[in-house]
């Protein structure tokens, strides 16, 4: 067993923002190693915090919360994503889940379907679905990490993400940066 690693403070915010950006750019369809094809998009809740502390500074809810002016303005103004609610679909199974905190914990996860019956059957079904969801989140994290450590992150990906923020702001306000 390896030594315990320290929690990487900026990882949750970076990862959650990356999910938001990546799923929007891909129209919600992703192909992930180990998992295959999924549909994934930001659902009805996104919370931001200031870079320096953990208190929520803005919580946006409702349909299309991520596409609001407030959401983009929060990013453009230096706030970071603290929590995000995702809809994830794999084959015919649909999950709704929040990822939150420095451990990127699964919160309020609605698992698809429900076997009714003995405790055993329900347990196996729930754990199968939980493990699938955990596997999808792990695959997303792996893909993010691979892109994050790549040489072109600063020169290519970050400008793309800044442009994404700016374009969305401009489409709502009609103001483009020079």
């Amino acid at each position: 067993m390896e030594d315990e690693r320290a929690v990487l403070g900026h990882l949750p915010a970076d990862f959650l923002t990356w999910i938001w950006f990546t799923t929007e750019k891909s129209g919600g369809s992703l192909i992930l190693e180990e998992v295959g094809g999924i549909d994934c998009y930001v659902d009805d809740r996104i919370a931001f915090r200031a870079m320096e502390d953990d208190k929520s500074r803005a919580v946006l809810t409702g349909e299309n919360a991520a596409n609001t002016l407030e959401a983009r303005a929060a990013l453009a103004g230096g706030r970071v994503v603290k929590e995000i609610r995702l809809m994830i679909k794999r084959e015919d199974r649909e999950y709704s889940v929040s990822l939150r905190g420095e451990l990127l914990e699964i919160s309020g996860a609605k698992l698809p379907g429900m076997v009714k019956g003995a405790v055993e059957e329900v347990l196996y079904d729930r754990m199968y679905l939980y493990e699938e969801l955990h596997g999808i989140v792990t695959a997303l994290l792996t893909r993010y990490a691979t892109e994050r450590v790549a040489e072109d992150w600063k020169e290519v990906r970050v400008p793309e993400m800044r442009a994404w923020v700016a374009d969305a702001l401009a489409s709502v306000t009609g103001v483009r940066s020079p």
Binding site: E4, L11, M51, L103, V119, R126, M127, Y130, A145
Partner: protein, 202 residues
């Protein structure tokens, strides 16, 4: 709500170590040893913790393996009871008792030691009559994969759970860090990065 039904909100832990040979017997004894029991004193106000079966919080007998061990999954709950006096309500009643004593004794002020005696008596009377607040949190241990899910994000509840788990099974739990989910080289490389600033460049 918990691991078996409803929305799932859980902290995931890696179990440091593996169950021993013959764990079915060892862990049955251990779960029974640390099972929840109502305190002998009805006036105890400290929290009381222990294991109960997931099917019913009154069931604390782990002798039937089929009630908590399903192939490689062990599932049970932490039960925590605490008695709390309703603060303002209790204070108001105590004040009435103090006033009644003063009127009976013809005194303007109640001596501190008498007030304490009235308070102790009233506390004793109320604590023997009120029910505790009962909280349960589900646990699912996947023994094949070596992880545990605890259905709470509360740091306090998780601290209590980890201590109880260690006492019961002599195994430590380590919260799963996102870096733990990545291949080692990738985690090492990610640790060298900093945060991404998406603020508009001025």
């Amino acid at each position: 709500m918990g691991i078996l039904k409803g929305p799932l909100s859980a902290r995931r832990y890696t179990v440091l170590g593996e169950p021993p040979e013959g764990f079915r017997i060892t862990y049955t004894e251990a779960l029974n040893a640390f099972a929840f029991h109502e305190p002998a004193s009805k006036t105890k106000t400290e929290e009381v913790h222990g294991w109960v079966l997931s099917q019913n919080l009154l069931d604390n007998d782990f002798n039937d393996l089929e009630q908590w061990l399903f192939n490689h999954y062990a599932i049970f709950q932490v039960r925590t009871d605490v008695k709390r006096l309703p603060g303002n309500y209790f204070k108001a009643h105590l004040e009435k008792e103090c006033q009644a004593w003063c009127e009976a004794e013809g005194k303007e002020r109640i001596p501190r030691n008498i007030k304490q005696e009235l308070k102790d008596n009233l506390e004793f009377e109320w604590l023997t009559r009120i029910f505790p607040t009962v909280r349960t949190t589900e646990v699912c241990w996947n023994m094949a994969e070596g992880y545990v899910l605890f259905h709470s994000h509360s740091d306090k509840a998780n601290d209590t759970f980890r201590k109880l788990f260690l006492q019961t099974f002599s195994l430590e739990l380590r919260p799963v860090n996102p870096l733990d989910l990545l291949p080692i080289e990738l985690a090492d490389a990610l640790e060298q990065t900093g945060g991404t600033d998406l603020r508009m460049e001025s």
